[in-house]
């Protein structure tokens, strides 16, 4: 456990080594949130109602902020792992006294946390000034716990895509399409509440909703039933995806051929 904590700290230090770069990269959330505000401000105004399907403009903006924070702040592990598989550098991690997947988890978390914090703080300032104050503090623990589970779900899928390099020459298309499925079925650009009922049903039965919609929705409008549904969904998908990931990792290791060094 201590060695993974050390790996986490190294990732954290790496991420914080260039604060100007970190803030510059986080700056893109300002563009996205400003554009989203223009879109939803006009949309709410033309709907002639304060709320759409239970969400106000303020709720929608804070929902989108949390979703964007997760999307822009999560590590792009698929590309890293697939490069390691393709160029053989995976061998240098495998022969160290730590588990490959736990190494990626600790390092990825260390790099991701400062990025997410920076994105959230920058974005929150803008959203607060445009749309109003954040949701009540009581919502925050529920949302941030769901955010942590969502991060792990993303981690599992990213690792699976990266490990696909054992069998596919190019994994980038998998990554693009996965990201777009999160955009749509995860409710990243439009909250799932605004979708037609049939699509909401489909989305809620897939993992993407628990990777994005869950934490963002709990942040703005939690209710006991929804909270239970989201945590249960996350738990089920965590079990399923972790199982598949461990299986895929062991299969991949059996295919791995290392020739010298």
């Amino acid at each position: 456990m201590r060695k993974h904590w050390t790996i986490f700290k190294i990732g954290l230090v790496n991420s914080l080594a260039y604060p100007a770069e970190l803030i510059m990269r986080s700056g893109m959330i300002l563009i996205f949130m400003w554009v989203f505000f223009q879109l939803w401000r006009v949309t709410f105004a033309s709907s002639g109602s304060e709320t759409i399907n239970g969400l106000s403009l303020r709720d929608t903006m804070w929902y989108l902020l949390l979703a964007e924070t997760l999307e822009l702040g999560r590590p792009r592990l698929a590309r890293t792992i697939s490069d390691q598989v393709k160029d053989g550098s995976i061998a240098y991690i495998l022969n160290k006294p730590y588990h490959f997947l736990l190494y990626q988890f600790s390092n990825g978390l260390g790099e991701s946390l400062p990025r997410m914090a920076s994105l959230f703080l920058l974005g929150a300032g803008l959203v607060w000034s445009m749309a109003g104050p954040p949701p009540p503090l009581a919502n925050w623990p529920l949302a941030f716990l769901a955010l942590a589970f969502a991060w792990i779900l993303h981690f599992c899928v990213n690792c699976l895509i990266g490990l696909a390099a054992f069998i596919a020459e190019e994994v980038a298309p998998f990554e693009w399409i996965y990201q777009k499925l999160v955009f749509i079925l995860g409710g990243m650009l439009i909250p799932l509440d605004f979708y037609p009922a049939w699509l909401q049903t489909i989305a809620r039965s897939l993992p993407f909703a628990y990777m994005m919609y869950g934490p963002a929705r709990l942040f703005v409008r939690p209710d006991p039933v929804l909270t239970g549904q989201i945590y249960l969904g996350q738990a089920i998908w965590l079990l399923v995806l972790t199982g598949i990931l461990i299986l895929a990792f062991h299969r991949g290791m059996r295919r791995l051929a290392i020739n010298g060094g």
Binding site: E21, V42, S46, E170, W176, I184, F194
Partner: protein, 280 residues
């Protein structure tokens, strides 16, 4: 540097003039070689092309869902989005196919990798930009046409206008990338800023321009030229208008002049550690 390289070439010798005479054959040969290199990894090339078409198509579903729920945004509807998305995707893809290094020019400058191009009797900027192909660009380029056909605005003349619009939008986009990344000559770094700039122009180009008020629109024409990648060319595809094509041409020439001019200015400050590098 005693002999400053110019935008169109280094005035070192008669090689330059010979190089300029054969500029088009040189570019064609370079593009052909780039394509051949990309096709060496045929499965990766095809999967990236098809993957990008699918990726763009899936992304557009967001707009279909949005306009299904909210049919217009200040007069802007799904048809407009098909056109804007089509032009932006094709222009973005064409930039990657023909001028692939436009996306990492800043990195080339910072790492001192311009040495290679400076030593050759070819226009430096053009040579750098065309020395790389982004395989997924073909997917974006083709998807743009699919989006245009799906818009319900297809006519043979409209297709001609679409092609013109894509070329002019691509010039603006590449020029903007050159402009932004030439700042690396002064800043010494540029990765994060480049990413920010690319995200900004693409994001603004893909959203209805009717969302933005007058001040913001001015920025989208003069600072982040997203209007020239989306709304303006979309208007031209819908109906021919001399004013619109004039505006597009002016935007393309203006940003190209600014981009190339700044690169040229930056080149005077360029230094490298004479590192041994291999261009592959």
């Amino acid at each position: 540097m005693a002999d400053e390289p110019t935008l169109t070439g280094s005035p070192h010798s008669a090689h330059t003039r010979a190089g300029q005479r054969g500029l088009l054959p040189f570019l064609l040969a370079l593009w052909k070689a780039n394509l051949a290199a990309a096709l060496e990894f045929r499965v990766a090339f095809i999967s990236q092309t098809l993957g990008m078409i699918l990726n763009d198509g899936v992304y557009f579903v967001v707009w279909i869902l949005f306009f299904d729920r909210f049919p217009t945004v200040r007069g802007w509807g799904l048809t407009d989005m098909f056109l804007v998305f089509g032009i932006s995707a094709s222009a973005f893809g064409l930039a990657g196919l023909l001028f692939g290094n436009a996306f990492n020019l800043g990195d080339i400058i910072v790492r001192g990798r311009l040495d290679y191009y400076l030593s050759l009797p070819r226009p430096v900027l053009l040579h750098v930009l065309t020395s790389r192909v982004t395989p997924s660009g073909l997917g974006d380029f083709l998807y743009g046409f699919l989006s245009y056909f799906a818009s319900g605005q297809f006519t043979p003349a409209g297709l001609g206008r679409f092609v013109v619009a894509v070329i002019l939008a691509m010039i603006v986009f590449v020029a903007f990338l050159v402009l932004i990344q030439s700042l690396a000559f002064w800043l010494g770094t540029g990765g994060a800023f480049t990413g920010l700039a690319i995200n900004a122009i693409i994001t603004f180009a893909l959203y209805p321009i009717t969302l933005f008020e007058r001040g913001a629109k001015l920025i989208l024409f003069l600072v982040i030229p997203a209007a020239f990648m989306g709304a303006v060319p979309a208007g031209f595809v819908r109906a021919f208008d001399w004013g619109t094509i004039g505006l597009m041409a002016l935007g393309a020439c203006g940003f190209l002049a600014f981009g190339a001019g700044l690169f040229q200015l930056g080149l005077r400050r360029y230094e490298s550690g004479s590192a041994i590098q291999t261009e592959v």
